[in-house]
Each structure stands twice: as C-alpha cells, then as structure tokens.
C-alpha cells in the first residue's frame, strides 16, 4: 500500500500547507483488495486492485470546490489543489455552508493482517473446497471470495487528522442445479472466521431442496425472511429515509417522534461496534455516533452530516459522505435488534400457509415516502404449511411498504448475522436477525 512507503500524515500535511484557502480538507482513501470469482465449479476471474484517491475540498468566502487525483507526485497534487481552488472561485457565495469539522480522536482499530494480506492461494484453497463439495453433490458452485484492506484518513486546516483502517473478508456462493439454486454468504473482519465449507454446505442443501419448484398464487402471505433478505430491506430503508436531509426534503417515511412500524422493530447505527464492520469516522472527519433510528417501532433518530445538522440545529452524527454530496448523510453500520426465537424453524410455528424467503434480488424503490419497494425472491423460496417448510416454490415479486410489513413483525430470532454490501470498499455492514412478518404482499410470480 502507499502508506507503506509514505506516511499519510505527511501527505495530508503537504497538501494543507500548500493551500492558501480559508479552509482546506483532504480525504485519502487507499485500498489493497483482491477477489477470486468462481463459476461452474472453477475459478474464472481472479483480480487484485491497488489504488489511492486523494480528494481535496477548499472553502473560500463561502464557496467550495472539490478535486481529486490518484497520482501522488508533487505536480499532480498541486494541480488537484489548483482545480479545487478554481472550482471554488466560480460560483455564488453560499451563506449556509457549514465549516469543516473540528479536531477529533478515535480509538484505534486493529486490522487483521492475515485478512489484509491474504494470498490468492488462500482464497483458491477455500474456493476449491466449495467446488469439491458441489462436485460431490452433483451440482455446480458459483460465487466470489474477496479479501483486503482499506485505509481512510481525513485531515483539515482546523488541525484535524483522523484515520481508520479496515480489513474485510467476504464470501458469497450460489449452488445451482438445472432446476434449483441455493445461496449462502459469510462476512467477517477476519478471514479465519469465514467457514467456506459451512457456507458451501448451506448453499448446496438449499439448492437440493429448491429442485422442482412449483408456482403458487401471488397474494398476501405470512413470511419468514432470512437475514439475507432482511438486510437488503434495511439497506434500502437507510438509503431512502434515515437521513436528516431526506426528512427535511419530505421524501422520507420517517416521522420523528411518531410510531411508524411494529414494536418489535428497533434499528440503530453504530460505526464503532466491532460485531459489525466498524467504520468509526465519516468522510468529513467526524467520529460516528451511535444513533437510535427506530426504537420499539417509533422514529427516534436521524443521521446527519455537517450540512444537514447545521440546518437542523444539531451536531453532525458522523454520517457524512465525500463532498460533493447532494443526497445527504448515510447510515452504513446498521443493527436490528433480535427477538426471542431460538431458530428460524421456530419462527415458522403457527404459520398455516406462508412463504420462506432466503434472499431478495433487484430490489428497487417504488415510493420512498411510503417505504414501498419492489423486488424478487431468489435462490431459496419455499412454502410453509402448518408450521413446517414443505416444498420449493417459484420465485415471486413483492411490492410492499416495508414499514407496513414490519408493522406485522411477530417473531424475530435471538441470533443475528452480519451482512456486507456488495463492493470492494465494504462500506455497508448490517447485522440483523431473521424475521417473521404476518403480512407480506407478493404481486406476481415468475416462470
């Protein structure tokens, strides 16, 4: 990584000292990541990526400009600074522009070197194990195992220098037969904690059980949502409604202080919780605070960046994104409280006829103000009859207000599972239980 050759503090100091702007901020993101992808039980893509991005924001006379570069030479950095200053010159003043963040400190996070520097052979060994399991079961294995580290640093002319490294391993796999498929994934800050064979066995078991799926009539059903499906819904809720700006603009389903969903639902964001994928600072250099977003079904908190916080008359909660950012703050270290069910099978008890959803696919926003989403089930959809999973069913499309559906949450597992976002930078980490919802609207079925 770049920081092995050059101290990040020296780099940010060099830029800050070269700037004659009233205020200057430097964000450095350096990444060293790798991903081994497999399909049809063999590795078909295997990549490694090293990059560094320096992002400079200047403020002069209530005007701000941003420029970035991935070239670390003195000339390239000077040019980026000049472009940021040029950008700030060419616009009307913005009296509500918030100042840059004040100095802050963080407790250091220890990164697992074995995860940060995992070798292609170590990834191939785990992938090979899954492929061998699939071969033995007469199905095909697909998926990807990624490992690596990302280091973030934010410095500004107020004397702030704050940084935090992060290492993550993420495995996802689909086992597939001609007429069935099953999914599993695992995420951890420690590659050693990724049990590839367990994930492979879970996906293969589900694949075998989905063979010969038959359609059922779309309609409103009780559902068991596995953690994979729950995390996807929470990620969308965060995107469309958990920020102060979304509420300010009237596009959020959140009505602060009001009961908006079921009492069983509590969701919070905590960037310092080591049981998630910790990210203790935001891209404005503000340490993340724990924010209770929904507590017992009531909307209790919002995440803010410096700008929305200033307008709301509160302090930033440390959820800012890199400037420029017209969409507002984003909660990415989310947790959902579990319940008392000891297993997912226990969630099924009492359901006369319902649907078991392993995973959603291609979820998209239909109506943000009503938290209405649409999407498909995928890789493990089953019928529940008289409290038991009885057979595989064809994948179905849902079109549903999530707040309404969560309003019918009647049981949650006590155990929670960590789910990761899709990409290399591992931004989102969401820890959730499996959930039983008494009403969930499926609007069509696929072939």
């Amino acid at each position: 990584m770049i920081s092995e050759r050059r101290d990040l503090r020296d780099l940010t100091d060099e830029i800050l000292s070269a700037s004659d702007a009233e205020q200057t901020e430097v964000i450095v993101t350096e990444s060293d990541t790798a991903l081994t992808r497999f399909a049809n039980s063999e590795i078909h893509q295997n990549v490694a990526e090293r990059n560094i991005d320096v992002r400079i924001r200047v403020i002069n006379q209530q005007r701000t400009g941003v420029a970035s570069t991935n070239q670390m030479g003195a000339d390239a950095l000077r040019e980026a600074l000049a472009r940021a200053l040029e950008s700030a010159r060419t616009q009307p003043a913005r009296p509500d522009l918030p100042p840059l963040a004040p100095p802050a400190k963080l407790d250091p996070i220890v990164v697992d070197d074995a995860t940060a520097h995992a070798t292609p052979e170590e990834r191939a060994q785990r992938v090979g194990a899954i492929c061998a399991q699939a071969d033995a079961a007469g199905v095909r294995a697909f998926g990807a195992l990624s490992t690596g580290s990302v280091n973030y640093a934010v410095a500004n002319s107020n004397g702030l220098f704050i940084s935090s490294p992060r290492a993550v391993a993420h495995l996802r796999t689909v086992a597939m037969a001609d007429d069935g498929s099953g999914y599993a994934d695992r995420t951890s800050s420690h590659l050693a904690d990724i049990d590839a064979e367990a994930a492979g066995a879970e996906a293969i078991d589900k694949c075998m059980r989905t063979r010969g799926a038959e359609p059922i009539e779309p309609g409103v059903y009780p559902v068991i949502l596995e953690e994979y499906a729950v995390a996807e819904l929470i990620e969308y809720l965060s995107f469309i409604g958990f920020s102060g700006l979304a509420v300010e603009e009237g596009r959020s389903f959140m009505r602060p202080g009001e009961k908006i969903t079921g009492e069983a639902i509590s969701i919070w964001d905590d960037g310092a919780d080591l049981t998630g994928l910790p990210m203790p600072l935001d891209w404005e250099g503000v340490p993340r605070r724990r924010v209770e977003i929904i507590a017992g079904g009531a909307a209790t908190g919002l995440v803010h960046d410096m700008a929305s916080a200033a307008r709301a008359g509160v302090e930033s909660t440390g959820h800012g994104l890199p400037a420029p950012n017209p969409t507002g703050a984003l909660a990415v270290n989310l947790f959902m409280a579990g319940g008392s069910a000891k297993s997912k099978d226990e969630l099924c008890e009492g359901i006369e006829r319902g649907v078991w959803v392993s995973r959603f696919w291609y979820v998209n926003i239909v109506h943000p103000k009503q938290s209405q989403l649409t999407g498909m089930t995928r890789d493990g959809t089953f019928l529940i009859e008289n409290g038991k999973v009885t057979r595989a069913i064809k994948n179905m499309r849902f079109t549903q207000s999530v707040m309404e559906a969560f309003g019918t949450a009647s049981a949650l597992t006590s155990e929670t599972k960590l789910q990761a976002g899709d990409d290399y930078d591992f931004t989102a980490g969401i820890r959730v239980p499996a959930v039983r919802l008494d009403r969930f609207n499926f609007t069509s079925v696929t072939r």
Partner: protein, 480 residues
C-alpha cells in the same frame, strides 16, 4: 506510455504468460450541480492507471496499479502471474480465446465544442437559472440541475500484436424537481431520469437540451402529478415513450443476451438468463415489429468505440431479428465457447483497475412505421407511460416491473387524464410478443444510461440505447 505497455507485455511473456494484454487508461471528469439555489457540488477528478490481464496454464490473472513507473507495472505483472497460477489450481478447462486479434489503429469520438473549454462560470450560470425555474411552483420542495463532462483516453496492447489508441469526450446534463405534500412525493426529470442524459460529444450535447426552456414545464408537471388520480389497475393497451422503452430494452434484452451471464459467470451476483443457446435461432422473443441490434458504431452513443477492451473491432449485429432471437453480446472467450469463432466485441471495463466484462454497447430497437399519435388514435382503452421512475427484473430476466413518472389515460383514441404512480409488469417474451407498433425514424432517439451495474467487484458502465415510442397489448398495469 507505449514503451511502458510493451515492456509489461515482455515481462508477462518472460514470466510464463501464454497471452497478456495491457490497458492504460486516463480519465478526467468534471461535475457541477446546483440544488435549492446554491452550488451543491463542483468537482474535478482525475484518475490514471494500468491494468494487466494474463493467461497462465489456461487460467486468468489480473492486477493493476495507479503508479505509472516500469517498476510498479512490472510488480503488477508479477502479481497477475501469481494470481493466474492460483486460478489454475481450481480450473477445469483451459481458456480458449478463439482466433487472434491484432488490430492497430486510433479512434477519436465525435466532439464539437470541447466541454472542458466552457467556463465553469457559464456552466454554473446555466444551472442556477434552470434550477430557479424548476422551483417556480409552490409545491416543489427540492430541485437539482447538473452537468458533467468526461474525457477518457486508452491505450491497449496485447501479445498478439494489437496496438490501439482511443479517446472520447462524454458530455451531459439533466434536471429534476420534486413536488411534495404530506402524503405524496412526485418527481419529474428532464431530459431523462437517472440524473441526466449523457452522450459522446462536446458541449453541443447540453445546448440541444434547452434546459431553461423546459424547466417551468417540468415543474408544472410535477405539481399536477400531486393532484392526479392514482393509476388504475387492470389489463390494458400500453404505450411507452421512447425513454421508457430504452430501459425496457436494456433490462429485458440487453442483459439477457450477455453471453457470460448465459454461461453462468454472473450467476452468484447479477444472475443468469432465460435466453439459452438452445433457443438461438428458434425463440420467438417478440413480434415481427421487434428488431434489436447491438451497434457500437452509432455516432454519439455511450457504447460506441473503435475497438472493445479486448481489441475486437466495433460492430453492428442483430440480437433480435423481426422477433426471432438471433444473437448474443460476446467476449472472445464466450464466442469461442459458443462456436461462433470471432467475438462481436462487447468486452468493456469501467476503468483501468477493472477487467473487461461483457457489457452492452448501444442496444437499439430499430424504428418501425408507426407514430405516437397514430398509436394513440388506434387505442380504445389504454395508458401512455412516460419517463422511468423505478425498475426491477428477476435474475433470469423474465419477470419485470417498471414505474414511470407520468401516465395518461387513453380512451377511444384520445389522450385523457393524468395519472400518478403508474406501473406495469409482465414476462419478457410475452410482453415483446404483444408489441404491435413501433414509431418511425422521426421519433427515434439515442439515450445514454450512466448507471448500468454488473460484476464483482462492481463495475458501473455507460451504455447507449436507441428507441422510439411503442405499443403493447393486454399488459398488466397499476401494480404498485
């Protein structure tokens, strides 16, 4: 730079690569956005690096670096070689790239006025005025106008002798506003949703949009939508405007004809496809009104180039010919696997740091002989839907559901009342087989889509779509 690239090929071959290619890419990008009367973002970004792809023992390895020195690039080559050897441990059949590709040449995309030569002040002034006009209706709670320009340059060399230099400008703009009350939020976008419309070209692309001339109308439409009736549910005749049809083509024809998806290499993430090779030449994908091509040669298309990121020349091939499924988007490897021999050239990477994947180029439905007015006049009970708002499709690209910003009732051949929250859904081949009219060349337009996601690690590709309004029978509408 050529010297660095050639040296990297030598290093790869000395290290045991049976094939290698090296791609240097430099991208300069500028964005300006104005929101609620203030400049909300003004950024200028620069990225440069080199990606090295090698085949060793029949298996792939890829590595990259942003440090443009011989030592660093050699190190990236060594990493790629090591990765390829690790890949070979879990590999069953050696990669076959088909016939060698050794083109040499240059491509320069069309450009009138260099968009970077237009002052930032002029861009800010345009957007401030457009955004001010967007807020002309009291119910508009927030509005945004933005512009962007990109200049990319690429050098591709391979051990088969290819040596290609390409560059293009991409320029675009867009605006959107949202009318809000206690229960509703209604958004209108112009000239397309997804933030903005972008094309290969210069500042003239933005000038033709006439943002300020259209801003008040867009605001009025958003305000009208707040008070409009909810779209009724049922089976009706559906007419789509060109921009919504472009997205329908993207999701239900572009993606399922990606041959890597068909062969399973996206199965764990983006999914597979119902358009399997056994159906090639026999599947009645649509009615005889439906002909869809992959055309990387359209001037101004976001999917236009001289050669793809494997060095294969830009081509125009049919995917659907008068309703019959006849072709795929391919790479060299998948074309060889299909038995086609040569690739049709659809391998694209979204930057130096990523490997090329099969991506859409410009996936265009060819114009028909009808017109929007003729389609409306010939409809007894239908709905006209306009400008995409939401989209979703299953992992085999069969079951889809779209929502649009605007819709109008069509009754006895006339456009009637406005509807809000319109949606429609269906199953891909059923839907396309119900197409009974496509508008002609005068209503056919190219659209640029800047947010097409695929792959792990994720890549966001810019693709083009040519489309005209079209009509479909017996469609399920009003789902959401």
């Amino acid at each position: 730079m050529k010297e660095l690239a050639r040296d990297a090929l030598d290093t790869a071959q000395v290290g045991g690569a049976q094939y290698a290619d090296v791609r240097l890419q430099q991208t300069r990008h500028q964005e300006v956005s104005v929101k609620d009367g203030r400049v909300d973002g003004l950024s200028q970004d620069f990225s440069e690096g080199v990606g090295v792809r090698v085949l060793v023992d029949g298996a792939w390895g890829f590595a990259c670096t942003s440090t443009m020195s011989k030592a660093e690039i050699d190190q990236a080559v060594e990493v790629a070689l090591g990765i390829a050897r690790a890949s070979a441990r879990v590999h069953k059949r050696p990669v076959d790239l088909g016939p060698p590709v050794a083109h040499k040449g240059e491509y320069v995309g069309p450009v009138g006025t260099d968009p970077f030569s237009v002052s930032l002040e002029a861009k800010v002034d345009l957007l401030v005025e457009a955004e001010r006009l967007l807020r002309s209706q009291p119910s508009i709670r927030f509005a945004e106008a933005s512009t962007e320009c990109t200049h990319w340059r690429k050098l591709f060399v391979s051990t088969e002798g290819a040596e290609l230099e390409q560059e293009a400008y991409e320029t675009g703009a867009g605006m959107e506003c949202s009318a809000v009350n206690d229960e509703e939020l209604q958004k209108r976008s112009y000239p397309n949703s997804f933030g903005r419309q972008v094309a290969q070209g210069g500042w003239e692309v933005v000038e033709t949009m006439e943002l300020t001339s259209n801003a008040q109308r867009i605001a009025e439409e958003a305000a009208q939508l707040l008070g409009a009736e909810h779209c009724p549910a049922g089976r009706k005749t559906l007419i789509l405007d060109a921009s919504q049809l472009a997205l329908q083509v993207h999701e239900s024809c572009g993606h399922p004809t990606e041959l890597d998806r068909v062969y399973g290499t996206e199965a764990a993430y983006a999914g597979t496809s119902f358009m399997t090779p056994d159906l090639l030449g026999t599947l009645r994908y649509g009615s005889d009104k439906v002909t869809i091509v992959a055309d990387a040669t359209v001037p101004g298309g976001l999917g236009s180039f001289g050669w793809d990121d494997e060095g294969v020349e830009a081509q125009n091939v049919k995917l659907i010919d008068e309703g019959l499924f006849v072709g795929y988007l391919t790479s060299r490897e998948t074309a060889a696997q299909l038995g086609n021999g040569r690739s049709m050239g659809a391998m694209r990477a979204d930057g130096w740091q990523r490997i090329p994947l099969i991506r859409m180029t410009n996936i265009n439905i060819l114009p028909g002989a009808s017109s929007l007015e003729e389609m409306i006049a010939g409809t007894r009970d239908g709905i006209l839907m306009h400008t995409n708002k939401s989209w979703s499709i299953d992992d085999r690209r069969l079951n889809f559901q779209f929502g649009t910003e605007m819709a109008w009732e069509i009754k006895d051949g006339k456009r009637g009342k406005l509807y809000r929250n319109a949606s429609y859904g269906g199953i891909t081949p059923d839907f396309w087989n119900s197409c009974d009219a496509v508008a002609g060349p005068s209503e056919w337009r190219m659209f640029g889509l800047i947010n097409c996601g695929k792959g792990q690690p994720g890549q966001v590709m810019r693709v083009g779509h040519g489309a005209a309004p079209a009509r479909f029978q017996n469609v399920n509408v009003g789902i959401a």
